[in-house]
């Protein structure tokens, strides 16, 4: 570039113009510099993804900031017991699932990242459906979500990651509004086996507020079957108001992380013992249910 005088001149002109422009507008040069460097890195592919497709840079710079207004101003999320999440090392966060669309898992991810002193990333586990959908699958992988299967959970926990699981699955997220805050069955307790095998503590997590965002008053089952979905929600606003019906109701949220349940003092082979697994599963489930009841009273009216 320096060989020919013309680009050098252009550069100087551009530099001078830029300086004048910046002084006029009073923009923070350093932040702009970061932004340009970021765009450059993205455009040249100078970033890293981990084996699960997690892209920390994109998550922190783009995906989480997009969710933050919803988290802060719409749902006014209050986080309790963040000190129960270890500073480092593996742990499994098990939470209740609700809200028709899995907004609660996104909010929990943001809650952990924004309130934990180490700004840890919660690596969520998603259903197969998530990975069948274009765009959704892509965004899920980039934000650190992976498929809820034994291999992936154990690989993540074995790597010392903080993993989030919603054991109710579709039964929880797609339950009718009348069933709100009543925990559904916790599957086979596969998450407990994985925690036992990797000796990772289980942190029960109770989420209040997600139930009211899309109150599901009906389920168009035949339409759901036609579309290959587990349910097709009918809420007071969806699908009647079209896209507007997708705006969640502004309920007040509380996310509480409970005391860790240790799994490292069980004898080897406990992970394959159904008695131990079901007992632990019930313990986690009862803790969440009890905390939910307390938090509901604490919160008062849903939209207050």
């Amino acid at each position: 570039m320096a060989d020919s005088p013309l680009p050098g001149l252009l550069d100087r002109v551009a530099t001078a113009a830029g300086r004048a422009l910046r002084d006029r507008l009073g923009v923070d040069g350093e932040r702009l510099d970061h932004l340009v460097a970021f765009a450059g890195r993205r455009l040249t592919g100078e970033f890293e993804v981990d084996p699960f497709g997690f892209d920390p840079e994109l998550t922190e710079a783009v995906l989480l900031p997009l969710l933050r207004p919803l988290y802060k101003h719409w749902f006014r999320v209050e986080v309790r017991g963040i000190e129960n999440i270890p500073e480092s090392g593996a742990a499994l966060v098990a939470a209740n699932h609700s809200g028709t669309l899995p907004v609660d898992s996104l909010m929990t991810q943001l809650a952990v990242h924004d309130t934990h002193p180490q700004a840890r990333h919660l690596r969520a586990l998603g259903a197969t459906l998530v990975f069948q959908l274009p765009v959704v699958a892509d965004l899920a992988r980039k934000s650190g979500t992976t498929l809820a299967c034994t291999e992936d959970v154990e690989a993540l926990l074995g790597g010392g990651e903080l993993v989030g699981v919603w054991p109710e699955g579709f039964k929880g997220v797609g339950k009718p509004f009348s069933q709100r805050y009543k925990l559904q069955r916790f599957g086979r307790g596969g998450f407990v086996s994985a925690a036992l095998r990797t000796k990772a503590p289980i942190i029960p997590c109770s989420i209040v507020g997600a139930e009211e965002i899309y109150p599901m008053i009906g389920n168009a089952e035949s339409l759901a079957r036609l579309l290959g979905l587990p349910y097709f929600p009918l809420t007071p606003t969806f699908p009647w108001l079209g896209a507007l019906g997708l705006v969640p109701l502004p309920s007040k949220w509380i996310i509480e992380f409970g005391e860790p349940i240790r799994t490292d003092d069980y004898p080897p082979g406990a992970a394959d013992d159904p008695m131990v697994v079901f007992e632990l599963t019930d313990q986690v489930r009862d803790t969440i249910q009890a905390t939910l009841t307390e938090l509901l009273e604490l919160r008062g009216p849903a939209f207050g």
Binding site: L21, V27, G29, T44, F47, E151
Partner: protein, 339 residues
């Protein structure tokens, strides 16, 4: 004896083995004469799909057979039917000959991580013992699975023969031509809308080296072989300076047909699924038991390939960097050239 010597990796391996101190004689087998140098190795012409290969083995009496004649792209074979014949019938003939032979002590098979398939239900990392049922597979994925089933059958019948199966992630590098390399060389690369699969790569030199280790040393077992780290498709395209063209699907007859007929690239269903869902394999066993450490990471492999093959694309990285510097100069009012 290296079977499948006419293609790039086979020729490189034959050449490399012929130069190895502990190896007396290297024989390369293929249907056509190799166009690349095979060094000090001898060439024997034999058709792997017929009993030719059995006679060749009787005559040469090798103690080690390396099976590299499994074709991943149907264009290499001249269509799907010959591809399947070469892969499946060829493997059966070769293994039958090895089973009869009294000289063979070791069989090394160059397989592929394609045996795991790829789909929405795939775990993030496949370990060697996580091969899904054959019913879910089609095309080359099915071949790869069947080839391995025959190899397992062979090792049951001849437990005295050491069998090593190396499952390679996609091989890329400055020289080799594969379905994937030709895909990345397209001026505009078709991708699946809303999908950004992640994948691993092996450098062509690492691939040859892993095969050499498996041939010379005694390391029976099944091993995934892949470079460190991952690349996302979008990231790879940006590194190659190629704009992506999002299409609703690559698998539809329309899209696939147009791409094939225009001679651009021939994508079979396995490649389409790979480019939709991606794949990852666990390489712990490669390090601990095969005792092989790839020199090139996935990113380094791709860069080596991109440097040699994809310079001067529309979104060339140097061009993007120059723009970045200029923009930075304008925005920050500093002379950007110093950095």
């Amino acid at each position: 004896m290296v079977v499948g010597v006419a293609r790039y990796l086979g020729a490189r391996l034959a050449e490399r083995l012929a130069a190895e101190a502990g190896v007396d004689r290297v024989v390369g087998v293929d249907l056509v004469e190799p166009t690349l140098s095979i060094g000090g190795a001898e060439f024997v012409r034999a058709d792997i799909r017929t009993s030719d290969i059995g006679r060749a083995i009787d005559r040469v009496a090798p103690d080690t057979v390396v099976h590299m004649n499994i074709l991943a792209t149907r264009a290499d074979a001249g269509g799907r039917t010959p591809q399947k014949e070469i892969n499946v019938i060829g493997t059966m003939q070769l293994l039958a000959a090895c089973q009869r032979s009294r000289s063979v002590r070791k069989v090394v098979v160059k397989s592929s991580t394609t045996v795991y398939g790829s789909g929405p239900q795939s775990p993030a990392l496949f370990a060697e013992d996580m091969v899904a049922g054959a019913h879910s597979r089609r095309g080359y994925e099915k071949d790869a699975g069947e080839v391995e089933a025959y190899v397992r059958g062979f090792s049951r019948r001849r437990p005295d023969v050491g069998v090593t199966i190396l499952r390679f992630a996609n091989v890329l590098g400055p020289q080799i031509r594969t379905g994937l390399s030709e895909y990345f060389v397209l001026p505009v690369v078709p991708v699946v809308l809303g999908r950004d699969p992640r994948f691993q790569l092996v450098h062509e030199l690492d691939c040859v080296e892993a095969l050499r280790v498996a041939t010379v040393e005694h390391r029976p077992g099944i091993f995934n072989v892949a470079g460190d780290g991952f690349l996302a498709l979008s990231q790879a395209l940006r590194r190659a300076g190629r704009p992506g063209l999002p299409l609703p699907t690559l698998g539809s007859p329309l899209v696939g047909g147009v791409l094939k007929r225009s001679g651009v690239v021939d994508m079979d269903s396995a490649l389409v699924r790979f480019l939709t869902f991606g794949r990852g394999v666990d390489t712990t066993r490669m390090r601990t038991q095969l005792k092989f450490d790839p020199v090139y990471s996935t990113v380094a492999t791709f860069d080596a390939f991109a440097d040699a093959r994809t310079r001067g694309g529309v979104l060339d990285r140097d061009r993007v960097r120059a723009v970045e510097h200029a923009v930075r100069g304008v925005l920050t009012g500093e002379d950007a050239r110093g950095r």
